[in-house]
Structure formats: C-alpha cells, structure tokens
C-alpha cells in the first residue's frame, strides 16, 4: 500500500480528501488526513458573528462529519515535515511515512509582528475578527459599546479574503444605523494599499460606497506600532490615528509547521508552482489553499477551484504523465456592502474584476460589481453550499474552474 497524506483538514484539505477518496485506486492507496482540531470552523462566518447575524453554532461543526469513512482522520498536532525522508513528525513523537504529500495547513494571524498590537488593550479595545475567539470577543464588545472612533485596519498584505475588512466596515455602518447610534460613531478605514482594494476597477466602485456611507479612508498607512496608553496607531512615516475601538487584521502568516520544516518564505508560505500547485522544491509534495505562495486571493472559493485542478494533477503525477498547467488564479467573492446588499466579483491572475453578468453571460442572474439583494442572498446561501457541497467536493453547477471571459465588460 502507498500512502497519500493530507496535512490540515480545513477547507482545502477536506475537499481533497473527498475528491481523492473517489478518484484514487483504494486497493493501492491509503489516504490519511491530519488536523490538531476536532472542529471545522466556517471562517467566512467570522464576518457575521460580531454583528449577531450568525451564532457560534452556525459556523462550527465536527471535522469528522466531512471526512469519508474510508479516509483515516488523525487528530493530532503536526510537528514538522522532513521532505528529504518523506516523513511527517507528529508532536507526540509518531512518524508517518508518505509517498505523496498535500500541504493544506492554511494561515493564521500573527499580531505579535507589530509592536504593542497584542498589548494591554488586546480584546479590550483592540480586536481581530479573523479568529473565532476574536470575532466572539468583538461581538460581546459591540453589544455594549456606546460609540466613538471605530478604526478598521489592515496591517499588511497579503491577508486571506482581502475584501473581508471592507465588508466589516460596511456591515458596521449598517449595524450602528440599526441600533440608532450611527451618529455617535466615526468610522475610519485604514489600509496599507493606495486605495480601498487591490484591483483598480473594483476600487473605484468600493470607494464610491465608502463616501456614500460616510466612511473616512486613510490609505498608504504602514503601521509601526499600537500605542495602548494613548489609544492610537502610528505608522512608519509618523502618521497617527486615534481610536476608541480598533478592529485590526494582523499580519497573516502560514502555519508554524512550515517554518519548523524550513519549507517556507518569510511569511511561512510554501513556494508553489502557480499553475500546477506542485511544490517548487519537492516533486511528491503538492500545496493548496492559504498555505501556498501563489499570487491568487487566499479564499475558500479559490481553494475550491484549486482542488479540482489538483485532483487531476495528482492522478497525472501517479500515472507518470505531465501535469496540467491549468490553475489561472480564479477567485469569486461576494462582497457584503450592508443594508442587505452585496456585490459579486470574479477575477483571476490576469483579469481584474469588472462589471457584467454571472454565471450565464448576458443573463446573470447575478450582476458583477454592482450592489444587489440577490448577491446578498447568495452570500448567505454560500454557508449552505459550503457545508453541503463545497467541502464534499461536489462540483458547483454552472461555475467553471477557470475564469470565463464571456459576459464581462473588460
């Protein structure tokens, strides 16, 4: 028997376990998947938890439920990978040999990268919403907060789901309006980028929405430290922004496993071939999801498109055939804009998000880069799709793996 080992049972690892369980010859291959957690967290839900839109039970389910019975789930912490020996060392001392390895260990926040960020005000007036604990603590804070300067802040790029901080900003505008206290809150959006988003056309649309919602934007802000005593953030150029409530997205880094294994770049991302998803260093190692260094968005939708291509490439690799250079960086994200509306963006390595219709060219029903209720309903429906289709590796009807150019206004 040969062994295919998947590290991480989050979005990407779970999808790969389901795909490969169906595709691999199970007389020849054993499949194991490892995660230190027992619970699968639906991370897109972290955006809604602080505003009491979702409850914790909407976003947490047992990992076991999503892993096929014929795949062996190991519940333990991974210490490191020793690629030269095709070995994975567990924190409990066990060693696992593999013939093929898939790294899907995701990424996490690293607030300790910025001086003072995890200081005395952490989870008092300085919060993150990129972790379950952070989103929950922020919910409790928002329930009793009486207003003042709300600063929503991105530390540095890349971060997963790069639109989430903007969505948080829009949703907070709605939240305070609903609570009849919008006039007591100044909202400032602080970004290291030169504008609201990373791609020009979407930036123009999103900046228009910020103005409309009376949200102030501070761009090109490269944070140096958080001053806990005087409650302000300070950038390398000396610019200071005061806050009463700081909601920050700290530096995102790949898993510590990657650092301990000496396999990552300075942010612990594994150098990965961007079209095939094979590791650049080791032929029998493939990387998927937030763990890679490919220049695509770090998002569940991206992992979904990657999984379809990676499955095919694993089969090709086993058969000794050349890999398919097909992954185009396709990403597809709903952007919550508040007030029960959302926009939809669809893009890849080379094409920025533009206006148009999706998924049927000229018909829709979803409209790209324009606010609508239909898009918002789809974003909420995404949770159902995630639990019931995405994780199980079911192909989502009408949505192609590579980006479609038809029906878009380039």
């Amino acid at each position: 028997m040969k062994r295919l080992l998947i590290l991480g049972a989050g979005t990407a690892g779970t999808m790969m376990a389901n795909h490969l369980n169906k595709e691999l010859d199970r007389h020849l291959w054993e499949i194991d998947i490892i995660d230190e957690r027992e619970e699968h967290y639906y991370q897109p839900g972290y955006l809604f938890l602080p505003f009491d839109i979702y409850e914790p039970e909407d976003i947490i389910k047992p990992i076991k439920k999503f892993i096929p019975n014929s795949v062996n789930l190991i519940n333990d912490k991974i210490d490191k990978i020793i690629p030269e020996e095709n070995l994975v060392k567990m924190a409990n001392g066990d060693q696992l040999h593999y013939d093929l390895l898939i790294i899907a260990t995701g990424n996490d926040i690293a607030p300790e990268e910025i001086q003072g960020m995890k200081g005395s005000e952490w989870q008092k007036s300085v919060f993150d919403f990129y972790t379950f604990e952070g989103a929950l603590a922020l919910r409790n804070k928002l329930r009793e907060w009486e207003g003042g300067n709300l600063v929503v802040h991105i530390t540095e790029m890349p971060i997963k789901c790069p639109v989430a901080p903007l969505e948080f900003t829009f949703l907070s505008d709605s939240y305070f309006k609903d609570k009849k206290m919008r006039e007591k809150v100044n909202i400032t959006y602080v970004t290291p980028l030169s504008g609201a988003f990373t791609k020009p056309k979407a930036t123009a649309t999103l900046e228009h929405l910020l103005v409309e919602k009376n949200i102030h934007i501070e761009s090109d802000f490269a944070i140096e430290s958080v001053d806990n005593e005087n409650k302000k953030i300070i950038d390398y150029g000396g610019r200071e922004i005061p806050f009463d409530l700081l909601v920050t997205v700290p530096t995102n880094k790949g898993s510590e496993v990657i650092a301990r294994s000496g396999m990552g770049d300075e942010l612990n991302y594994v150098p990965t071939h961007k079209a095939t998803l094979q590791s650049k260093k080791h032929q029998n190692i493939f990387v998927i999801g937030d763990a890679t260094d490919v220049p695509a968005s770090k998002a569940g939708s991206v992992a979904h498109f990657e999984a379809e291509i990676l499955t095919e490439n694993i089969l090709r690799y086993i058969a000794g055939e050349p890999l398919k250079e097909e992954f185009d960086g396709h990403a597809n994200c709903f952007v919550e804009t508040g007030g029960g509306k959302a926009l939809l963006i669809d893009f890849n390595y080379t094409h920025e998000p533009v206006e148009g219709t999706f998924p049927f060219p000229g018909i829709g029903p979803l409209r790209l880069l324009q606010e609508s209720r239909m898009n918002h309903m789809s974003k909420l429906a995404f949770r159902w799709i995630y639990w019931n289709m995405l994780l199980k590796g079911t192909h989502i009807p009408f949505i192609s793996t590579t980006m479609q150019e038809e029906g878009k206004h380039f």
Binding site: E156, M157, P158, P162, P192, L193, S194, T198, D220, A222, E224, Y236, G237, E266, L267, P295, A296, S297, K298
Partner: protein, 102 residues
C-alpha cells in the same frame, strides 16, 4: 507611451512607471526623483540597485522583504522614500509598480 526624461525618450505606462528597465540610467533616476520632490543620495542608489536586482530575479517585492533584506530597514526605507516607499522607489528604479496585493 513615450516620455522624455533627462533628454532621452523612454517608454512609460499611464502612471509614469518605466516599462523597459534597459532604458534606465542614474540621470533618469535623478529626474524621476525630482517629480517626487526627492534628491537622491548614494544611499538611495543602494536601495534602487537592490530593487532592480530583485526584479531581474523575478522576486516579488514587498515592504517586509525590503525591510528584511539587510540593505535597509523599514524605518530608513520610509525616511528615504516618504509616504509610499515601495511605490516611489520602484518608479525611480525603473521597475513596474509592485503588485503587492491580490
């Protein structure tokens, strides 16, 4: 697009970033620096040279990488090229605007 800088015609994009590094020269850098109200010192040129080498080796540039390079730390990088150091220094170095972001 073509633009005349320091008496030479060079290829630039809409945002004024040079599109052909082989046309770059220190004289052109000095002219480009003036557009950002900067006077270049030898220290600036050390940083520009580092950026160009990284670009030629196809290493994507980020502020964090520059800061960890040993050539200059983030604080000094900001002091040399205030406001948006990576964007301004890339422009003066004759390399594309960094696509730091996705």
């Amino acid at each position: 697009m073509e633009k005349t800088i320091a008496g030479k015609s060079v290829a630039v994009n809409e945002e004024g970033y040079m599109t052909d590094l082989s046309q770059w020269s220190p004289e052109i850098a000095n002219e480009l620096a003036k557009e950002s109200n900067l006077e270049l010192s030898p220290r600036h040129f050390e940083v520009l040279e580092y950026l160009q080498t990284q670009y030629k080796n196809e290493v994507p540039l980020t502020i964090r990488r520059v800061g960890a390079s040993g050539v200059v730390d983030i604080k000094e990088f900001y002091a040399l090229f205030p406001a948006g150091p990576l964007k301004i220094s890339s422009k003066i170095a004759g390399i594309p605007k960094p696509a730091s972001c996705i």
